[in-house]
């Protein structure tokens, strides 16, 4: 499942990403697209606090994809 949050700036992006992560079943994987560095930073901080290490890809200058498995 891929969620495009690139039209939300921080902290809306973080809040929506948190909702998505909270809704994941154990072992489920999602890809979250973020549209600015502040959003990337805040979502990454949230994942770190939860002990989740995401996969990371950059698409163009300011589109970041996090692959998250709960």
């Amino acid at each position: 499942m891929r969620y495009d949050l690139s039209d939300f700036i921080c902290p809306l992006s973080k809040m929506k990403a948190t909702e998505i992560i909270d809704g994941l079943d154990g072992g489920e994987t999602v890809r979250i697209l973020l549209g600015d560095p502040d959003s990337l930073k805040s979502v990454a901080q949230e994942l770190k606090a939860r002990g989740i290490k995401p996969g990371f890809e950059q698409e163009g200058e300011s589109r970041f994809v996090l692959t998250i498995t709960r």
């Binding site: 039209d7 939300f8 700036i9 921080c10 902290p11 809306l12 809040m15 502040d38 805040s42």
Partner: protein
Amino acid sequence: MWYTYSKTQVVNQDKEPDHKLKVYSNITQLIASPENPTPLVRLNGINPSKDFQIYLKLERYNPFGSVKDRIVSEMLKALEIGNRTVVEPSSGNTGIALACVANALGIPVEVAVPERIPEEKKIMLRFLGTKVTEADDALCPLFPTEGARGVVNALIKSPATRGGYISPNQYENELNVLAHYRMTGPEIWKQTQGKIDYFFAGFGTCGTITGVGRYLKEQNPEIKIIGVEPSSPNHKLPGMKRITGLDEEFIPTILDRSVIDDSVEVTDEDAYKTAIALARKDGIPVGPTTGAILHVALRYAESNKGLAVVISPDDAFKYTSFYKNILEVESKGTDYEI
């Protein structure tokens, strides 16, 4: 249809009702003004000084229960809302006032609040039909200590939502200052017959201290304007802001430091103890921010002379869950004498 009370016509559908008889054509007309000021009450119990009289300006007597009623009406009137939803960060009082005024005008409202505000305020906002977003203070690196402001900023600026929202933005809206310059300041000047020597207010959005301070200084430059701030950024004084040490970009742009003569820090403990002591010695139940501001005024009373006015932003009823913890400690034997 005409309704009459005795021989006096109190409600006439064609004419403005008589405000002297306390009849109004809508709830917003109860918002305080120099013609309908909030009360000024002298403190006789908590203040032992005969040379430094302290009067509380009880803003709880505004129709929605706080000083914020004054600014909300002014700010909403000036907004070109269209089909958008009004959204604002608030520690509760602005949100409640905004919700009430907006409901009276049929305008949709959303409010972003810090998680740490009392549950009573969140319940009131939901009671009023407002969508409430709770935000942790550390939610957003762009607004490191004010997540609620970050949420509103994101709603206004995100491509996905920006066309649907508009914010009065009380931190940058000069109408916040102007409401106090036009209303609160003249009320105090008139109520004290120009004899005021000191005015005490808290730093928050800074509209009150800037607007009242500016007006009073114009009447008499000798009047001292004293600002009160929490001693720690992680405080339990909703609506107050610690200005000292704050990055310039997060200080409300409407703050005019030139009208402020002194700023004093207060701990949560002193603020809550003072609020409780005031209730017990003068019978006035106020919120903890009033306790904070009054604590500083009482310190001034120890070594100064004159007439002081202390702004009391709201009442105790929205903070009972906060007071509960202190009262539980007290019931175990802690002495709360100031």
